[in-house]
């Protein structure tokens, strides 16, 4: 009797669980599953731009020392994850002396904290823009942990993500499926315990830094 009841419960559960299980947003581009994208300049130039706007000066800077990878689950885009790092000593503002200040102890302290990282924990608010001919494009909000100057804070950033399946055209540039991510967000220096030289934040250096990032990668390692 008990075995009969147990069998009924087991069958019911096995029928009901798939009905209630969450299925995320998927891209219908003729491929499925998880794709590991490794950033590479063969696909496109990986870089970040940063702007500090202060009453006395606007400082524009760039960095091309970007490394990392992320995993896109084509069947569940919400589960996208990965890590992207920026080598602090590749950040430049066009003046060598100012760059050495930027990497110095008062500011980013590159010797102690050589990288700035963004640990992607997932995507929300996904909007599918395009899904045809092996090309998928979405707009979403990336959430994750941003670590700078030894301090980690949870941040969100609106992103545009493109995924392109390998084709004759892509093979001319690099092997594998391609992906491109564009992100734009801002960070507050105070939030990351960056005090700078007394009096400069708010006058010559902005309290918040605007960041624009372009990441290119492929599934080929």
């Amino acid at each position: 009797m008990n075995i009969k009841k147990l069998a009924i419960v087991a069958i019911s559960v096995s029928i009901l669980i798939p009905q209630f299980s969450y299925s995320g947003t998927s891209l219908k581009i003729g491929t499925q599953g998880k794709k590991t994208i490794t950033l590479t300049n063969k696909v496109g130039e990986n870089f970040i731009k940063f702007v500090s706007a202060a009453p006395l000066e606007e400082i524009k800077g760039t960095s091309d020392g970007i490394t990392g990878s992320f995993v896109i689950d084509i069947d569940n885009l919400e589960a996208t994850s990965g890590q992207i790092s920026v080598d602090v000593k590749t950040m430049t503002t066009g003046l060598d002396r100012r760059d050495s200040h930027l990497w110095g102890k008062e500011w980013l302290n590159a010797d102690t904290y050589p990288t700035i990282t963004f640990d992607i924990k997932g995507l929300t608010d996904i909007q599918i823009i395009k899904q045809e001919n092996g090309i998928g494009e979405i707009k979403a909000t990336a959430k994750g942990d941003f670590t700078m100057h030894g301090v980690t804070k949870q941040i969100t950033s609106p992103i545009t993500l493109k995924f392109i399946r390998e084709s004759e055209a892509t093979k001319k540039r690099a092997q594998g499926d391609f992906s491109f991510v564009q992100a734009r967000f801002s960070i507050g220096l105070k939030d990351f315990d960056i005090k700078g030289v007394r009096g400069l934040i708010g006058s010559k250096v902005g309290e918040t830094i605007e960041i624009d990032a372009n990441f290119y990668g492929s599934t080929s390692k």
Partner: protein, 104 residues
Amino acid sequence: MKWKLISIIALILMLPLFAIWLKQGKNIYTKDKKQVITKVKDEIFGTETDKIEWVDEFQLGLLPGVDNLSPKLLLSVAVPSGILICVSILGFYMNYRQKRFLSK
């Protein structure tokens, strides 16, 4: 008359400095590199992204570029303009004194 002329010349000499400063982007500090952004079209991704390069280009600022100690960066609008303003004020004052002396 000679002092008045010196004052006017000093004021006129300031104008090209300010014209260069306005033309070169109204920078607060003198700089020796410029960020050049060019738009790059990517055929595969169908996107237009920025390509950023730093090129050597002197840009006269209102104040000396304190971030670098090169002599070029010490040039600024404020320093020569300040000297010219002082010369101009001195010229007008000397002209005033000369006029008072002659009228006596």
